[in-house]
């Protein structure tokens, strides 16, 4: 029995301690060749422009939503400041963009996400100004888009609200880092195996790193969504998020 136990313990240890290269945060300053840095930045522009006008419209129609908009931005602020350990033995942080995407639409969240990234790039040397475009595309464009689409899908399938919020936030979080690894793989194709090999390398580990964080983000988003829904029913109704149920 003890032999078996030793073997299992050994195997478990071996599998878990195996050195894993992890990449699961924003792309560092200067680490994306200029062409790509610029391209991703340009790709973001339409979303930011649409987001600004979407925010203007929302707030113009219902000024009371300002406070909830601020809270959605603040949520992304808090979550992306929390570096949480993950099973791969490195730390990463959630994005917090799912909430805003569900409440105000994906492009509005692009604007808020950009603000968060800018703060981190300038004051924290986390991410970077040259990689701002790429990071904004993954966290502020792709993540919110996926979150928004997921929420809509669950709603369409008549799934419960909490499930929609949970899946939206979790998948949006995961998608952010999937896009990050695609961006890195495009910029740094492996000599052997090219884009695919690099992508596999970046994704393999980092899907793992981010999965528990994505679940956490999903749960936290459900909590904050419920809190807002409990006290701000009128606002959420204004956003067409609450059906007549209570």
């Amino acid at each position: 029995m003890s032999k078996k136990l030793q073997l299992t313990a050994g195997l478990v240890l071996m599998l878990t301690v195996m050195p894993a290269q992890a990449f699961a945060m924003h792309i560092m300053e200067g680490f994306l060749p200029p062409v790509w840095a610029a391209s991703w930045g340009v790709l973001c522009i339409p979303f930011i422009v649409m987001g600004l006008s979407s925010i203007n419209k929302t707030v113009g129609e219902n000024p009371r939503l300002k406070i909830i908009l601020a809270m959605a931005g603040a949520f992304a602020f808090v979550l992306s400041a929390l570096k949480i350990p993950s099973v791969t033995g490195s730390c990463s942080h959630p994005t917090g963009v799912g909430l805003g995407a569900i409440l105000f639409g994906p492009t509005a969240m692009s604007v808020l996400g950009l603000i968060v990234l800018l703060f981190q790039a300038v004051l924290l040397a986390h991410g970077g100004l040259t990689t701002l475009g790429a990071n904004a595309f993954s966290m502020a464009v792709a993540g919110p888009l996926v979150a928004f689409a997921t929420y809509r899908l669950v709603k369409k399938a008549k799934g419960p609200q909490w499930l929609g919020v949970f899946l939206a936030a979790a998948l949006g979080d995961l998608m952010t880092y999937v896009v990050t690894s695609v961006q890195l793989a495009i910029a740094f194709p492996a000599e052997v195996g090219g884009f695919g090999a690099s992508l596999g390398k970046f994704m393999g580990i980092f899907a793992l790193t981010q999965i528990p964080l994505a679940i956490s983000e999903g749960i936290l988003t459900v909590l904050i969504f419920n809190a807002i829904a409990a006290y701000g029913k009128d606002e959420l109704k204004g956003l067409n998020l609450l059906q007549k149920e209570g």
């Binding site: 301690v17 990449f23 200067g30 406070i67 809270m71 099973v87 703060f119 970077g128």
Partner: protein, 108 residues
């Protein structure tokens, strides 16, 4: 009786919320045991190594305009970021809660 049921639902919700918070904490603690020997450094630092492996001669062509002088200062700034966000969320929730209370009192 009705208020009793309402209180029950409230208690139930509180329990579920606490449970969810607990799950989040557990998700953050488990890795510390699963990957005991890991250093838990920031993953972006490790990315530099990964890139160096793929393309050894790559030189970052731009450096951060401002870099916190030490990890302590960096932690402080991250804490500041979280604090600002948490303050706004707390203010918002308090505002909404107070307003709802007032409306409930006036409404019924």
């Amino acid at each position: 009786m009705e208020t009793g049921a309402l209180n029950g639902a409230k208690k139930n919700r509180l329990f579920v919320n606490l449970l969810l918070v607990f799950v989040v904490v557990v998700l953050a603690v488990i890795p510390l045991y699963v990957a005991r020997d890991a250093e838990f450094e920031g993953a972006d630092g490790k990315a530099e190594e990964a890139i160096a492996e793929i393309k050894a001669d790559y030189e970052p062509w731009f450096s951060p305009v401002f870099e916190p002088k030490s990890s302590e200062i960096e932690s402080a700034l991250f804490a500041l970021q979280a604090a600002i966000g948490a303050a706004v969320i707390g203010y918002g929730l308090g505002y909404l809660r107070g307003r709802k209370k007032k409306e409930d009192e006036q409404g019924t």
